[in-house]
Every structure is written in C-alpha cells, then in structure tokens.
C-alpha cells in the first residue's frame, strides 16, 4: 500500500464522517467528540484539585480558577456527559427497536454538528480573551457584571449546542414512536430504549426554558435589553427559575439513560430477566415527571418564602421513592441469578452503592431547613459528583466496555478494564467522600483557595490525592482503547454470550442497513427468547426486498457552521456591553445566519429521495457471510 493510497483513504474516511447520516457512524462521532471534551473537562478538574491541595496555593490565580471551575462544569454537563450518552443511544436504540435508522437521519447529523460547533465555540474562549467565569449556573447578576467576552462564549456556545440537543431529543422520540419493528410494543421495549424515550421527552420540555433564558442573557449583554438589569426594572431571579427549570430535569436527562444502561448490563450478566420490568418503566416515567416539580430546591436560600420551600422540599423527597424502587429491582434482578463478573458488570456493581450514597445525600438536601446549611458548600459538590460520577460516568464507562464490541467489532481488554475501575473507583470515593465533611465544616463551594487555620487542610489534601488516582484510571482506559483499536480481532454477534436484546442478534458492527429483513418481535428480551428456543437468528417480519436508505449530506455541517460564524458576529456587534464591537460584527452575524438559513433552503429545494439497495445485492451479502464490504 503506497502512502498516497493511505492518505486518500484517510481523506475519504473524513469525508464519509462529515457527510454521514448513519446512526452508527454518528454514534462514533459523538463518542469521539464527547470523549475529547470529557478529557478536557477532566483536565480542568485536575487543575482545580491541584489548586485546592493546600491552603493559599498559587497554582492558578483566582480569575483563572473561576474560569476553570466554570468550564469544568459546563463542559462536563453539556459537552461530555450528554454527548457520550447520545453516542450509546445512537449506537444502540435503533438496533434495540429493530429499525434501520432513526426517524430523521439528516436531523441526527445536524444535531451532532450543532453540538460540535457549539462546543468548539465555547472552548475557543480560552484563546480569545478568557473563558466564562460565573459558574455553569451563570447567575444573572454576576454574569452581567463579568468583564470580557467569557460569558458571551458561554451563552452563544450553549445556545448552538442546545439546539442540537433539542433536535436529537425530538429525533429519538419520533424514532421510538414510529420506527419500532413489528411486535415491538411499548411494554416490550428494552429499558435503555425506555429511558432514552423519557430522557428525550425531558429534553423537549426542559431545553426551551434554557433557550429562552440564555437568549435573555445574550440580549442583555450584547443587544442592550434589560431583562436582568435591576436598575431598569429587571429581575435576576427569573434567570434562576429558568435555569433550574431546565437544570433539574437536565440531571434526569443524564441519569435516566445511565439507569437504562445498567438495566441492560445487570440482567445480561445475571442471566436473568429484569426484575419488575413494568415497575421499572413506571418508576422511570414518575422520575421524569417529578423532575419538573422540584426545580426550586436549588433556590431554597433565594428567599422564595416558607410555603414554596416546604412544597418543594416534600416534592423533592418524593423522588426518592421511584429511585428506591429501581435500586431494589436491580438487587432483586441479581438475586437468584448467575452473576458473571465482567468489566461492565463491575462498573454496575460499583454503581449501586455509590449512587445510593449520592441519592441519600440528595434527600438530605431536600430537607429545606437543613439545606440552608448545605447549600453552596462542598457538601453539595460531594452530592452531585456522587450522583453524576457514581451514576452517569460509571454508566458511560460501563457502556464503553459493554457496547464497544457492538460499535467497533473489538473487545476492550478486560485486564486493563479492571485496572481502570480500581483506580477510578478508589480515587472517586477518596476525592468526594471527604468533601461532605468539608462542606459541613464550613467550606463554601467555588472558592479559589482557602485560608489555613480553619481545619480544612487535611481533607482537601486527601481529596486532591483521589483526583490523581482518578486521572490514572482514565489514562489506563485511553491506553486500553489505543491498544484495542490496533488489534486485529473480530468478535461474533453476541460476544458476551448472554445478550438479551435485539442488537446482539446482529453482526458486530452491524451492516450499514442494520437489518436485511426487519425482525418480528415475539416478546420482551427478544434475542434471549429466540436463543432459548434454539433459534440462531431473529424471525423476519417481511420478505427480502429492496431497502430504502437515506443519502449522506454535507449540509448539516454547514448549517451548524453558519451558526458558529453568526455567534462571533453577535459577540462583536457594535451594541455589545464590553465595548469592543465593530460594524463588521453585524455583517458577520448576517453572513452566518444567511449561511444557516440558505443551507436549510438548499436542503428544502433539493429533493432528498434517498436510494434503494437492490434485493440482489443483499442476497450477495448473504453469500459473503452477512458482511458488508
């Protein structure tokens, strides 16, 4: 193979990914980009912990600390956790429901590119005058007072990537409603599909308030409006309400898919069907519903009044009930099973106690009068890291090992997987367990440093050591991924041997059309059912016929790029409050918007009728053993 040929194939791979509308390839994109941002956010976390290793440390200055802390939170929530979960949803959900693709493949690609360009936009702030510094919550009085363009990078970046998230949410909802294979009724859907469905409906309901409040902040900072300007009658509490009307469901948008992932892994490696499937489904729905009723528990100290505080306190505690149902259902799934310890399973086993810890401290903070003490201290920092790392990140790591063979046709090394788990698990508890006590001992959160003589030195030091262990764990995972990618293995359809759902009946990775013939679903745990009856494949629901496929397109890339460009135009428009505006800013803004809407128009004018894979070609594939060239 000559170098030219290699380069050519490299370029064509890049082009393939730029134009792809295939959910499996988009999953790769989400995994890659989300993984990149995860490392970035992790690095920021490490710097935070180094700075707080000892009192009055000078590793970073106060301003930089605030920027690191803000970017850590924003990156991890918007650019790492959600996209990584989207990666697995894209990779798995269409397969689990027996569909050839999502309902809107074009929109799927557009959602990714919006997220991607939004994330790049946000992170360019590091090179263009400083990152946002008002925390991921960006409370209005501070974010209006913040100098420079940091906050503008935050608002515009969040807005662009938020549009992408909203589209992906709608897409998954429509996919799950309309694209299920014959026989796949709602109450036969795997739990990961169910949680994706509920999380997507939360996205649909929670992101618009964020969009609006972020627009207000954009307008206030860049176009002179006065929604949050107290001197002109504005009100900053409006931001707090909207942010948390979005922010609290956001937590469930993250944790529900994580629950789904564990609800797949635990039955698989216990070789037993999920205990209490229907109550699991209803608990998921209930959590999603209650998730919208509790936002003001983030604002107990804002001064909303006793009645509001009492109502939101009780509503918050109520969420513990469906969550508890889930925990016990998982335990009872394992009870009486035949538990095989694998890397995904060990993450699931680590998840249960860790998440219970995070859950109970959540209830404690729901007790409003107690929360007056806990709010905005390191106790809350400990709590949400227990929930988000112990729940979401553990799920992301578990799913990485669990679905890697399905996504890439190769198994990640078990040995290195255990090493990662050991370092990360121990490091995680070391970092965050002591933080509960730091908070109780009087350490507020988001402090750039702390003074000696307050009894806070030792626990901060322990916490920072834990962060280093977590870093080692992540590095081992990276090594694992590199080694695995270079190996030449090719795994079978059901590499874990105990797969239960439809995706494990397909080749790893599946052909680009997923199903030659759409499967007939005869019950819950579809593939397990067929295996138990001795069948080697799923029964088809249709005769072999031509398959209609969507065409790839570069347009999503340019629609998103247009908004990226428009973002810069808005930021440097002549009205901006920083005072460095330029008439060219307006021109760039118009150009960017024209690019976006023009590309959309182009998409609308040019028919996209897709293409057909002829029957003969599919039969030909059959002769080659189902593999796609």
């Amino acid at each position: 193979m000559s170098t030219i040929a290699v380069r050519k194939s490299f370029l064509s791979t890049v082009w393939e990914y730029l134009t792809t509308v295939d959910h499996k390839k988009i999953a790769h994109l989400y995994l890659g980009a989300g993984g990149f941002f995860f490392l970035l956010g992790g690095l920021e976390a490490l710097f935070i912990r180094i700075q707080l290793m000892k009192p009055q440390n000078n590793f970073v200055n106060e301003q930089l600390f605030n920027e690191l802390m803000t970017m850590h939170g924003t990156t991890m929530i918007f650019l790492a956790a959600m996209p990584l979960l989207f990666a697995y949803m894209n990779a798995v959900v269409p397969l689990q429901i027996g569909a050839r693709d999502v309902a809107f493949p074009f929109l799927n690609a557009l959602g990714f590119w919006l997220f991607f360009w939004g994330g790049i936009f946000l992170n360019l702030s590091w090179f263009l005058g400083g990152a946002p510094d008002a925390g991921w919550t960006s409370y209005a009085s501070l974010s209006l007072a913040s100098e420079g363009h940091g906050i503008d990078f935050y608002t515009l970046g969040i807005q662009i990537s938020g549009f992408g998230t909203l589209m992906s949410g709608i897409n998954f909802l429509a996919t799950i409603i309309t694209m299920r294979a014959p026989g796949m009724s709602f109450m036969r859907m795997p739990l990961f599909t169910w949680t994706t469905f509920i999380a997507s409906s939360l996205i649909l309901m929670a992101f618009p308030p964020l969009t609006i409040s972020v627009f207000y902040l954009i307008f206030d900072r860049l176009f002179n409006s006065a929604i949050f300007d107290v001197t002109l009658g504005g009100n900053t509490i409006i931001w707090e309400h909207f942010f948390w009307i979005f922010g609290h469901p956001e937590v469930y948008i993250l944790i529900l898919p994580a629950f789904g992932i564990f609800s797949e892994i635990i039955p698989t490696f216990s070789r037993k069907r999920l205990f209490g499937y229907s109550s699991m489904v209803f608990a998921t729905i209930l959590i999603g519903f209650l998730g919208f009723m509790v936002w003001a528990h983030h604002m107990f100290t804002t001064g909303l009044g006793n009645v509001a505080n009492a109502i939101f306190a009780v509503a918050t505690m109520a969420i513990a009930v469906p969550t508890g149902i889930k925990i016990f259902n998982w335990l009872l799934t394992m009870w009486g099973g035949s538990i095989k310890i694998t890397v995904p399973m060990i993450w699931a086993l680590g998840f249960i106690p860790s998440f219970v810890m995070g859950g109970v401290t959540g209830v404690m903070q729901g007790i409003a009068p107690l929360d007056y003490q806990l709010h905005d201290t390191y106790f809350i920092v400990a709590h949400f890291h227990y929930v988000i790392i112990g729940g979401v990140v553990f799920a992301i790591f578990a799913a990485a090992h669990f679905y890697w063979p399905k996504m890439f046709g190769k198994m990640l090394s078990e040995k290195l997987g255990y090493v990662t788990f050991a370092f990360f698990f121990v490091g995680f508890h070391m970092t965050f367990f002591v933080q509960h006590f730091l908070g109780l001992m009087g350490m507020p959160r988001r402090v750039a440093t702390f003074l000696p003589g307050q009894g806070l030195d030792l626990y901060n030091f322990i916490s920072s050591l834990g962060a280093i262990l977590m870093t080692i764990g992540v590095i081992v995972l990276l090594v694992n991924i590199v080694i695995t990618s270079m190996s030449k293995q090719q795994v079978a359809n059901d590499p874990w041997g105990d797969g239960r759902t439809i995706e494990w009946a397909l080749p790893s990775p599946p052909p680009y059309y997923n199903f030659k013939q759409l499967p007939l679903v005869r019950g819950q745990d579809t593939w397990w059912l067929e295996k138990m009856e001795g069948n080697k494949e799923l029964p088809p629901a249709e005769p072999l016929q031509d398959i209609h496929m969507p065409k790839g397109s570069i347009l999503p890339f340019f629609i998103a790029l247009g908004l990226f460009i428009a973002g810069f135009g808005a930021m440097y428009n002549p009205l901006n409050q920083v005072g460095d505006g330029h008439p060219m800013g307006t021109v760039v803004l118009i150009f960017g918007l024209a690019m976006t809407f023009g590309t959309m128009l182009l998409r609308s004018l040019r028919d996209d009728l897709g293409y057909y894979i002829p029957k003969e070609e599919l039969e030909d594939d059959d002769a080659k053993g189902g593999k796609v060239s």
């Binding site: 909802l173 309901m205 006065a226």
Partner: protein
Amino acid sequence: MNLLEQKFTPETWPEHPETYTQEGKNKFIGFWLFLAGETVLFASLFATYLALKDSVPNSDHALAADIYSLELVFIMTAILLTSSLTSVYAIYHMRNYNFKQMQLWFFITVLLGLSFLALEIYEFTHYVYEYSFTFGSSAFSSAYYTLVGTHGAHVCFGLGWITALIIRNQKRGLNLYNAPKYYVASLYWHFIDLVWVFIFSVVYLMGMLG
C-alpha cells in the same frame, strides 16, 4: 418505481397523503413534538412578560396601557386568523389532489401573513418613535419585544417556508414527497396563529384592562 415520486390522480390519491409514507408519518409525529417544544418556549416568554410587565425604571417610562392601540391589534388579529382559515382551505384542496387551488390558497395565506408583518413592523416603529419605548428602555419593553418579536420571527420564517414550497413545487405538482411538507407548514402556521391569540389576550387585552 419510487413511491415518493409516483404520479397520482384524484381517484388514486390517498385520503391522508401527509401520513401515507413512513417519511410522512415521521414528519407528522416529529413536527407535533417540535410544536410541543415550541409551546414550552412561548410559555417561558409569556411567564417572563407577566413577571416584568409593570417593571419600568421610573414613572416617565410608558406602561402597557399608555401605548397599546386596540384598533391596530384587532386588525392584526383578524388578518392572522383569516390567514389560518385560508391555510385550512389549502390543505382541504391538497387532500382532494387539487394542486392549483392549494397553491392559490397558500399564496393568499402568504399575502395575509405579509400584511400582518407589515402592521407589526409599523407598530414597533410607532412605539420606538412615539414613546421612546425601545428594546433596552426597561425590563418591560425588553420582555415585550422578546415575546412579540419572537412571534414575529416565527411569522417571518413561516412566510419564507411556505413561499419556498409554493415556488419549488409550482411546476411538478403534488406527490407523496411534498404533501407532508405542505401539511407540516400549515400546522406551523396554525401554531403561530394560536400563539397570537394568546398574545392578543395576555399582552394586549390584559395590558389595556390593567
């Protein structure tokens, strides 16, 4: 061979062309979901407006009752409601495979939408020049312009969308590829109309009556 490009006659044309194909069904469901999101979006705007509608920096600044003119708003409402009705006619003709009539009624819808937009622009400039009621003059004005302006932007987008559909399909007529597109565009138009009904009552009527 491709179902999407197949030619129909009024007799073979399906009763619900918008949901006849899988793509159409997806569009139909997906668009309703999108409208659910839009509803939450406008609900947020309304909530802010209600919270800030009396928030002005000093007593010199205009309040709702000082500036709104019900006559103008009433005409705007009538125009937009009528445009909703004309888009219903258009969809009626689409169902009957009467392409020319459908195009005509959509065209009338666009004309009505344009006149609504013109009146809205007049209204805004009037406020700015007569009352110094600008985007940044108070929290009230900001909330007002964001709410009504977002609606106006939706009208703009809807007009562009329907116009593009009319022009693009002028030569080739109806098929199962563009029928769902016309249908969701009309759904969108109804939604805009519905939002305006709320703006009319919550912003203007309540503003006038205090």
